[in-house]
Symmetry: D3
Subunit: 246 residues, 6 copies
Amino acid sequence: MSTAHSSGPLLVISAHAGDFVWRAAGAIALAAERGDRAKVVCLSYGERGESARAWREGKRLDEIKKIRRAEAEAAAGELGAEIEFLDAGDYPLLETPELVDRLVRVYREVEPAVVLTHPLADPYNGDHPAAARMALQARVLAQAIGYDAPGEPLGAPPVFFFEPHQPEQCDFKPNVLLDITPVFERKRRAMECLPAQQHMWDYYTSLAKRRGVQLKRNAGPNLGLPVETMAEAYVRLYPQTTGELA
Amino acid sequence: MSTAHSSGPLLVISAHAGDFVWRAAGAIALAAERGDRAKVVCLSYGERGESARAWREGKRLDEIKKIRRAEAEAAAGELGAEIEFLDAGDYPLLETPELVDRLVRVYREVEPAVVLTHPLADPYNGDHPAAARMALQARVLAQAIGYDAPGEPLGAPPVFFFEPHQPEQCDFKPNVLLDITPVFERKRRAMECLPAQQHMWDYYTSLAKRRGVQLKRNAGPNLGLPVETMAEAYVRLYPQTTGELA
Amino acid sequence: MSTAHSSGPLLVISAHAGDFVWRAAGAIALAAERGDRAKVVCLSYGERGESARAWREGKRLDEIKKIRRAEAEAAAGELGAEIEFLDAGDYPLLETPELVDRLVRVYREVEPAVVLTHPLADPYNGDHPAAARMALQARVLAQAIGYDAPGEPLGAPPVFFFEPHQPEQCDFKPNVLLDITPVFERKRRAMECLPAQQHMWDYYTSLAKRRGVQLKRNAGPNLGLPVETMAEAYVRLYPQTTGELA
Amino acid sequence: MSTAHSSGPLLVISAHAGDFVWRAAGAIALAAERGDRAKVVCLSYGERGESARAWREGKRLDEIKKIRRAEAEAAAGELGAEIEFLDAGDYPLLETPELVDRLVRVYREVEPAVVLTHPLADPYNGDHPAAARMALQARVLAQAIGYDAPGEPLGAPPVFFFEPHQPEQCDFKPNVLLDITPVFERKRRAMECLPAQQHMWDYYTSLAKRRGVQLKRNAGPNLGLPVETMAEAYVRLYPQTTGELA
Amino acid sequence: MSTAHSSGPLLVISAHAGDFVWRAAGAIALAAERGDRAKVVCLSYGERGESARAWREGKRLDEIKKIRRAEAEAAAGELGAEIEFLDAGDYPLLETPELVDRLVRVYREVEPAVVLTHPLADPYNGDHPAAARMALQARVLAQAIGYDAPGEPLGAPPVFFFEPHQPEQCDFKPNVLLDITPVFERKRRAMECLPAQQHMWDYYTSLAKRRGVQLKRNAGPNLGLPVETMAEAYVRLYPQTTGELA
Amino acid sequence: MSTAHSSGPLLVISAHAGDFVWRAAGAIALAAERGDRAKVVCLSYGERGESARAWREGKRLDEIKKIRRAEAEAAAGELGAEIEFLDAGDYPLLETPELVDRLVRVYREVEPAVVLTHPLADPYNGDHPAAARMALQARVLAQAIGYDAPGEPLGAPPVFFFEPHQPEQCDFKPNVLLDITPVFERKRRAMECLPAQQHMWDYYTSLAKRRGVQLKRNAGPNLGLPVETMAEAYVRLYPQTTGELA
């Protein structure tokens, strides 16, 4: 895959510090290996909602944020991605015009060719849809020449939702299966940067295998795919534009 | 586009003799220009349900079939496609195991890389969903090594539904917009092989423009697309499998 | 309401002999009072699936059919409607090309301005969707000049689904609420022609009140509707065509 | 159509200054020709999100608002409608209790018999659903006698969503097709009041033809409609209440 | 039913003071008869949106609140439930972080085993979905050890939506039918604590009968249910977890 | 679990010989351990569509059927279930009135308290929905006293769909998660009776873990569930009827 052509910057907008690792590390590593810029924006550290072990150990809020930040930076490093933290707070992650405006400025600066974020429904975690709504709103605002922010109006980069924890309950019906076999070892190492959630390492390895089985089933038996194909599932939000059906 | 790589045979399964022209001629011509085999299978001539003018003129059933066949052959010729007629009757097009079996044999012989057919819902025309159900069932049967028909088991070619006449009423939400600008003149000439429906020529030209506007809107303003981009809309049935999000 | 203008024939296609009374008697009586022809076609007598009491009483099949027929005729008489029985059998009501063809001939003869039938989903009774599928298929076939049956090609009469017994489980989301207050007494008398199901009389009276409350809620408080408005709920299948939004 | 009976005031609530022209001018002109009051409320001028050409020409914000206002006033004049601008800002149009309250007061003053607004989903433009949500919330509030605003409690006027730019992507499944043939020339002239978007004139003329074809298809061949029927598509939100199925 | 085992506290979150009576009184009385704590939280008194008669009689806002409070307290008393009023205002009921935080504290204090609230869609009343969104968000927040509020992190109590006034329009497809026959008299007495809405007493009695008929239909004829079974309908939001299919 | 009360016979209707093992073995073993009768009906052996390895090895049709039958009998034996083969043929499994009638007779003989079958959608395998449609139709027919088959009319046993291979593509949104931890070893041994699909053993073990994680997430952290809870996912078709919300 290292010879694949560059296709432009990848922007990943996630609610908490760890989301991008479990759900989109493969796509990020593929972009980095192609030589594309990959940038992750974490709206919060997940300091309240996704740090149960640290709270049980009696850590303070500022300590938890610091730990989560370091872990996420290490994971991003393994994947070859930049990472930025907006520290907007979690549980709840509040939607505000100011936060949306910060995202507009990110879009204008990164000029992404592809955007990844959470799906719009998640009855188990309100921060995820809130992040997705802001990511989508900011993308539309960044397209308007009349929106007052530095940089050029954005094009229309495709948006892909990455996989939530309970996909069926989130109305997540994958329409893209991404082959991450060539970079799965990098994804595994990135997951191992998050030691507090060690049980997730195997869980997401198993999920990648299962999505890989589906990829092979949908691609047909004749494609010379490896016995153990690893995959990530995505939902494409806008219609694909193409010069060829395939 | 003439330098595009070959991607394998295209199979189009349509209920009546004219459907492939209005709805999928662009995709067919693109395949032919790439050097791929393109094969159209018409389950019927549309002799009862889509030949109102001929009936009003007092023509007989056998005459109508002959006319429709000649027109469809001419249109296929313009597009560079083979065409086969199964003459299964229309209005209604009846689903039978025998007709499905014939389609299995077509799949095994053509070994398509891509399949096009009608969407599964159409409250205005029961033949269209009937054709789609048979096309899908035959594709699955052709994949089984245990199915008793000549040839090798089929792979898992992607299936795309082409656009029905009243898309919203048919739950047709396009997720692929195909740029047919390079071959639109061929599509126009193929449409002109169907003189009894002259009012459709402009109708489908106008539709191609409208879908083209949407293609540009979804592709972003920066892509160097021509002022008048022409497009066809499709719905992809199975998840896309890919090595890159784009 | 007796001064309302005539709007053309009404055709009601129901799976069993009693369905039209509980679910559509109001619409039928309104049509009759307007002076329109109203015709009910019962595909079966409901002799196996909807005659539990008669079977428990030890009646024979031919007796049951005769009873159900007489009851349905009496009810149709109260409503001012013609009634025809196709005696196609129930539980299951089998879909056949021959039965669809008979319905095509009914359409061509009646030339309905409005069609009523069952909704397309009913997990409690497979005969109801089977009747609906045949009613819809026959309507489309009757529109084709090339379909070989007496009479002129049918226009495009609107189709309304009448209310099933468990509406939410049948995906029945009413988009038309019909005011049947002026004819409710006729509906009640028609229901009373079906003595074996006496508990239904009050049940459907209660339903008419509830749908009437909803009608008033959706019509606004200013319309001078009576305190106790009675209504039937319907789902319109095809888009309404109109010269005025109201 | 000039002899049609008056049916009460029409209220159109749109996010930006031009929306009502492209999407609902036919319904507005029909109301005006019937002698009904027609009032358009524009929540913003569309100064940031829908004035790309003016921004590229280097115009200032206040200039752009002024231009857009003048154009919209001219278009409303052509249609025979009043117009009011709330100047709430666009891109993003922010939902606030104050803005909703202003709309409640409009409802109480106009006492509309029919309401038109945007559909609730639009992945291409967040202002449109925001306008729709406020329009619907205000309608419900205006119905409550306990809501503290001048005027009488509102009835329950039906709400129709007008057509978005990419209907399928907005889950816009038309259930009403409005015949605007008698007033299409007025719609065309109103469109021509918006010179910055000249390419839209033909685009929406073509759309009106296409919706007109669908209207004829759904109305049946027997209605004496003109060869070129022009139509607008709508989605009715609440159930229709009626004394007659038609 | 008085011998049924205790299953833990029941928490009911409703937008207005009367909602819990019409829609969930049966479930509340069953819990109380089992010996479980039942707590009702009313976000508002429904003073503006659901007190039309009092406003027409010229009562003042503070009087209306007082009346509604007294009525709701009496109804809760009949059912054996505690009741708390947050007095957050209605029409509109505004979603705020502060109100959500108050609900988090209620969850942490009550530690409910079961939660009841409004469904998420209601085109007739925006306060109902607003209450539901806050109830669901607070439940998730209360589960996080990192959320700063007294008490232990909440478990994952199941959530049931109770029935809205026009169920089909609110996408309310019941998946649980609760037998309230043993406590229906208590529900009736609780309803009679709300004298301003006397017409509702019979309306909801009739609804309970209708849902009871459906319960019997779905439970099978062999269960020894009484002739007149009374029921309430619910929608379960999260998957049921069980050790036995039944 | 061995002390759980008996709840009546379990009937499993599956298209092919192996389906019940991968997808429902846990539910079957739980029923058997409770002392309930568990009966599996296989409509076909899966001899053409699900025996790829045997065909590649050159086996004949009758040999393959014999092998599949022996394997399925062994698996049923491990689970404590009866098994019956209708040998109706697969790929395609054809729906016929005769086959439905045979299922009616099974229902009347078994008098199931619970029914398991395939979901109604599966774009990868047409036999699965065909089996489901027949299982559901036969259940309704068996309820009618007028249906001419031995035995008493059936009650209304609940129906659960078991999990398909690609759940999201089959619109399979689980609403019941069944704890199969106590019998997972039996499920594993039953899977090991199918040696030709050895890769499935780990696949379905992994799936059981994943569904178990979801079960714990939905049941709350306080329930004393084991670290590694194993689960199967189901969709309940009809509303649950109950005397208690839980």
